[in-house]
C-alpha cells in the first residue's frame, strides 16, 4: 500500500431511501464526507438523523428495504455502491469491518467465542486450523481479554458485556481492515467499561493505523475520541469540521443546540443548595435485600444502604449494572419486602404494610420507567393510560376524572389532542411525558424515575429534564432519580448515593461528591464521564421554560 493522502473512505452525495409498503422515503440526502487513513471521524446525530443508515451503506448492510439512490461510496478509491453481493462479501470484514452497538445480542448464543472469532479467518483466509486457533488466541489477548485459551471454549452468555464487546472488537480487527465502523460501540455499556472500550479502540487504531468511523449520539464521546465531527440532522449534514473547531465555535444552530443540551458538555449550573430543616419525604435506613439462589445460598443484592430525601428535593441513585440500584427502588416502591432495614415514606413504614395497605400506599409512590416504548400499553389511548391509576383508588365521577386527566396532560406540556391517540402515534419524548403524567395523576409524594431519560435523544432529554425540574418546583415533588449517567445527575440532583456491588460507597450533596469523592470508585466514575477532554462549551443551558413539544 502506498503512502498517500488519498482518503480511505470518500462518500459523495449519498442519498439513501427506504420503502415502506408502496412508498419510498429518502432518509439520507446528499451526504458527502471523507475519512483519511488513521483518522477517527465521528458521525453525530439523534435518532432519525440518518447516521446509522449512512454507516450501514458504507459496509453494504442496509436493511432489505433500504437502497442507495444516488451518489458514490469510494473505499480505497473504488466505488462499491453498485457492487454485487458476492463482491461486497469479499471486502466485508477484510477491508471494512463493524463494531456493533449492543454486544449483548451481537454474538451468536449457540457458538463458542473461539468459533465466532475464527469464522472471519475461515471466510477470508486460508489459514489451517491450528494456525487459525493460534491467531484467535493472539487476537483475544490483543484486545485485553484475560485467559484467552479459556475464552475460546466459552459461550457468549458466560462473558460480561464489556468482555463481549472486546470479542467483537477482536473480530473487527482480525484482518487489519482499512476502516472500522463503530456503530454506537459503547452506548449499551457502563460508563467505566465504555471508557476502557474506547481506549482499546484508540490503542488498536494507533497500532494498526486503521481509520474509524465512529457513529454516536453522544457528543461527549465524539468530543473525546474523534479528530473530525460530522453533525447530521434529518438526513442532512448540518456541519462538519475539526472536532475542536466544531465544539469551540459551532456554525449551525442545530449544533449549538446539541452542545447546550448535552449534559456531559454543557456547564453544569449548580442547583441552589437546599435549605436545612425540610422534613424528610423518604428515609431509608440500613436497607438489606437478599435473594435466594437456586443453589440454596443467598445473594445479597443490596447491603446496608441508608439515605434520606428531604421533601421537594431530588436524590440520585447512581451505579453501574449489578450495583443494586434497581433492587433499591423496587424496595422503595414496595414490590418486595426488605430482608432487613427500614423504608419510611413520610411517617409510614413500608415494610409493615400488607395487601390493602400496600395498595393504598402506591398512590404515594409512583414510578416512571426507562423505556417509554415498553412502559405504555400499545392498545390503550393516552386518555385511558393516564386515567387508569384514578380508577384503582377511590371512585371519582367520570367528569372529575376527565378534568384531572386533562389538567395533568396540559401540565406536562402535551396538547389535549393526544388524549385520543395510541402510544405508537407519539414520539419518544411525548411518550415519556405521558408516562410522567400517569405517575403524577395520583398526586404522589415521591416519584421514582428509573433511568427515565436514558433512552431519549439529548435534545428531548434536556426538555424532559426541564419539565421534571419545573414540576418539582411547582408541585413540591420529591424525586428519586436512578441513573448511570453522572453528567445528568450533576444537573438534576441535590443529593446522591453511589452504589457499587450493592454497597453505598459515597453519599452526600452532589457538589461534595463531585468535588471530593471519598472513594476511588466514585472518582473513576466521574473521570469516565465522556466529554472532559474539551473545556466546557460556553453555551450554558437555557433557562427553564416549558419546552417545545418533543
Amino acid at each position: 500500500m502506498s503512502i498517500s493522502a488519498n482518503p480511505v473512505l470518500d462518500v459523495r452525495n449519498l442519498d439513501i431511501s427506504y420503502s415502506q409498503g408502496d412508498e419510498r422515503s429518502t432518509v439520507v440526502h446528499g451526504v458527502s464526507f471523507t475519512v483519511a487513513p488513521g483518522e477517527v471521524v465521528a458521525l453525530v446525530g439523534e435518532s432519525g438523523s440518518g447516521k446509522t443508515s449512512t454507516a450501514q451503506a458504507v459496509i453494504g448492510l442496509l436493511a432489505n428495504n433500504g437502497r442507495v439512490e444516488n451518489g458514490s461510496i469510494l473505499l480505497n478509491g473504488e466505488d462499491i455502491s453498485h457492487w454485487s453481493a458476492r463482491r461486497l462479501r469479499s471486502i466485508r470484514g477484510a477491508v471494512v469491518s463493524l463494531v456493533p452497538q449492543d454486544p449483548g445480542s451481537s454474538l451468536n448464543p449457540v457458538l463458542t467465542i473461539g468459533a465466532q472469532v475464527r469464522e472471519i479467518l475461515e471466510i477470508h483466509g486460508r489459514l489451517d486450523r491450528r494456525e487459525a486457533d493460534r491467531r484467535v488466541i493472539e487476537l483475544l489477548a490483543n484486545v485485553g481479554l484475560s485467559e484467552p485459551e479459556l475464552r475460546i471454549r466459552q459461550y457468549p452468555h458466560e462473558l460480561s458485556g464489556g468482555m463481549k464487546q472486546r470479542v467483537l472488537i477482536a473480530i473487527a480487527i482480525a484482518l487489519r481492515p482499512a476502516l472500522i465502523i463503530a456503530d454506537e460501540p459503547t452506548s449499551a455499556l457502563d460508563v467505566t467499561v465504555q471508557r476502557r472500550i474506547l481506549d482499546l479502540i484508540d490503542d488498536l487504531r494507533r497500532e494498526h493505523g486503521t481509520s474509524v468511523l465512529l457513529v454516536t449520539h453522544d457528543l461527549g464521546v465524539a468530543a473525546d475520541r474523534s479528530e473530525r465531527i460530522i453533525v447530521l440532522q434529518g438526513g442532512r449534514i448540518q456541519e462538519q469540521g475539526k472536532t475542536a473547531d466544531v465544539l469551540a465555535s459551532p456554525q449551525s444552530a442545530y449544533t449549538r443546540k446539541l452542545l447546550s443540551d448535552a449534559p456531559s458538555l454543557a456547564a453544569a449550573k449548580p442547583r441552589p443548595p437546599v435549605e436545612p430543616g425540610r422534613p424528610a419525604a423518604l428515609t431509608i435506613t440500613n436497607l438489606v435485600q437478599n435473594f435466594a439462589l437456586p443453589t440454596g445460598k443467598n445473594f445479597r443484592a443490596v447491603d446496608g444502604i441508608s439515605f434520606n430525601v428531604a421533601r421537594g428535593t431530588t436524590h440520585a441513585v447512581v451505579g453501574e449494572s449489578g450495583s443494586g440500584k434497581t433492587t433499591t427502588i423496587r424496595s422503595i416502591a414496595g414490590f418486595q419486602k426488605p430482608t432487613s432495614g427500614e423504608i419510611r415514606i413520610g411517617d409510614l413504614d413500608v415494610a409493615s404494610l400488607r395487601a390493602e395497605g400496600l395498595r393504598q400506599f402506591r398512590r404515594k409512590v409512583q414510578l416512571v420507567y426507562q423505556n417509554p416504548w415498553a412502559s405504555l400499553d400499545p392498545r390503550q389511548t393516552v386518555q385511558a393510560i393516564v386515567e387508569e391509576p384514578l380508577l384503582n383508588f377511590d371512585p371519582l365521577p367520570r367528569t372529575e376524572r376527565e378534568t384531572r386527566v386533562r389538567a395533568i396532560i396540559e401540565r406536562v406540556g402535551l396538547p389535549l389532542t393526544v388524549l385520543s391517540r395510541l402510544p405508537h402515534a407519539l414520539s419518544g419524548g411525548q411518550r415519556q411525558r405521558v408516562a410522567i403524567a400517569r405517575a403524577l395523576v395520583l398526586e404522589p409524594e415521591v416519584v421514582v424515575l428509573d433511568e427515565a431519560v436514558s433512552a431519549l435523544d439529548v435534545t428531548v432529554q434536556a426538555q424532559i429534564l426541564d419539565l421534571l425540574a419545573e414540576l418539582q418546583r411547582d408541585l413540591g415533588l420529591t424525586y428519586v432519580f436512578v441513573s448511570h449517567d453522572l453528567a445528568v445527575v450533576r444537573q438534576i440532583a441535590d443529593t446522591v448515593s453511589v452504589l457499587h456491588n450493592g454497597r453505598q460507597v459515597d453519599y452526600g450533596t452532589v457538589e461534595d461528591v463531585f468535588s471530593s469523592a471519598s472513594t476511588a470508585y466514585t472518582r473513576e466514575l466521574i473521570e469516565a464521564i465522556p466529554g472532559q477532554k474539551f473545556p466546557r462549551a460556553e453555551t450554558s443551558r437555557r433557562p427553564i421554560k416549558t419546552g417545545p413539544l418533543s
Binding site: 462479501r89 451481537s106 452468555h157 458466560e158 460480561s160
Partner: protein
C-alpha cells in the same frame, strides 16, 4: 445438570402415573361393562344368573380400590391383563398391533419434520416476494385439509390414477408411503409455520448482521447462524405435536386398513374392553412422555445457555 435430568425423569413418571390413574377412574365410571356386553349377547343364550356368575368370576364388581391396586401392580410388571372380547392377553394384541403404528408414527414424524424444514428454508431462500408468500401460505393450506379427505385423495391420485403406489397387496414399505404422507402433512404445517417465523425473527438479530459484516455468504448465515437458533423453540412444539400424531394415526389406519393401535382402540371402545383401553392409554401416554422427555434432555445439548449457569465475573 444431573438434578435437571433426575427432575425431568421424575416429572415424566408422575405424568405416566396420573394418566394411568385418571384413565382407570374414567373407564370404571362408564356404565355397563365388557362382561355384560359380551355375554348378554343373545347368541350365547346365557341366563341372567349365569352372567352374574361369570361377572363374579371376573371380579368386575369387586372393590374399585382393590382393582386399582391389582391393575397398577400388574401394569408395573408389564402384565396388561386379558382382552375379554378377543380372549387373548392384551400384550399379545399389542405385539401384533403396536409395531405397524410405531413405524407409521415414527416415519410420519420424520417426514413431517423434513417437510417442515424444507418449506421453511425454501421460503427463506425464495428470491421473489410472490414465491415467498406462496410458500408461506402452504402451512395454512396443509392445516385446513381434513386427514380422511387427504387420505382418500392421495389414494385416488397416486394409486388409482397414476398407479404409482399399489393399495392391493402392497409391499411392507410400499404400504406405508401414503399413510405416512397423510400423517405428515397436518403435523408439518404448524412446525413449518413456527420455523418460518423463527427464521424471520432470528434474521433480524444483531449477531446475524455481525456475521454478515464478517463477509459470510447467505448460505453460511442461514445454516450456521440462523438455523440452529431458529430450531430451538420448534423442538418444544414438535414434542407437543406428537400427541396429535397419535390421534392422527387412528384415522389414518382406518382409512388405509392398517392393523395398528388405532384399529385396536376403535374395536375396544365399541366393546368396552377396558383392559385394552387402559393399556392403549398408558402406552400412548408413555410415548408422549418419552418424546417430550427426549426434547427436554436435548435442549441443553443444543443450547449452551441451559447447560450450566456459571457466569463469568465482569
Amino acid at each position: 445438570m444431573t438434578r435437571y435430568v433426575i427432575g425431568r425423569i421424575g416429572q415424566a413418571l408422575l405424568v405416566l402415573w396420573a394418566a394411568f390413574t385418571l384413565s382407570f377412574i374414567m373407564l370404571q365410571a362408564m356404565p355397563g361393562d365388557a362382561v355384560l356386553i359380551k355375554f348378554l349377547n343373545p347368541e350365547f343364550g346365557l341366563s341372567a344368573d349365569q352372567v352374574a356368575e361369570i361377572r363374579a368370576a371376573y371380579a368386575v364388581d369387586s372393590n374399585l380400590v382393590v382393582q386399582y391396586g391389582h391393575t397398577l401392580i400388574n401394569f408395573l410388571q408389564g402384565d396388561f391383563g386379558y382382552s375379554l372380547q378377543a380372549g387373548v392377553p392384551v400384550s399379545a394384541q399389542l405385539a401384533t398391533n403396536l409395531p405397524p403404528t410405531l413405524k407409521l408414527a415414527g416415519l410420519g414424524f420424520l417426514a413431517a419434520t423434513l417437510l417442515a424444514v424444507f418449506i421453511a428454508f425454501l421460503s427463506s431462500m425464495a428470491p421473489f416476494a410472490w414465491l415467498r408468500n406462496a410458500i408461506q401460505s402452504l402451512p395454512s393450506l396443509f392445516i385446513s385439509v381434513p386427514v380422511f379427505w387427504l387420505a382418500i385423495m392421495l389414494i385416488q391420485i397416486f394409486s388409482f390414477r397414476f398407479r404409482l403406489v399399489s393399495v392391493i397387496n402392497p409391499g411392507p414399505w410400499e404400504s406405508l408411503i401414503l399413510p405416512v404422507a397423510t400423517l405428515a402433512v397436518p403435523i408439518a404445517a404448524p412446525l413449518a409455520q413456527i420455523l418460518i417465523r423463527n427464521i424471520d425473527e432470528i434474521r433480524t438479530r444483531p449477531f446475524v448482521a455481525v456475521a454478515r459484516a464478517k463477509g459470510a455468504s447467505e448460505t453460511r448465515l442461514l445454516w450456521r447462524h440462523v438455523a440452529r437458533n431458529a430450531i430451538l423453540p420448534t423442538l418444544t412444539i414438535a414434542g407437543v405435536l406428537f400427541g396429535e400424531l397419535i390421534a392422527g394415526a387412528v384415522v389414518t389406519e382406518t382409512v388405509f386398513g392398517l392393523n395398528g393401535i388405532g384399529g385396536l382402540t376403535e374395536k375396544a371402545v365399541g366393546n368396552q374392553d377396558l383392559s385394552v383401553l387402559q393399556a392403549v392409554v398408558v402406552i400412548s401416554a408413555a410415548a408422549f412422555v418419552t418424546i417430550n422427555l427426549a426434547v427436554d434432555l436435548a435442549y441443553p445439548l443444543l443450547d449452551p445457555r441451559l447447560r450450566n449457569r456459571s457466569g463469568a465475573a465482569a
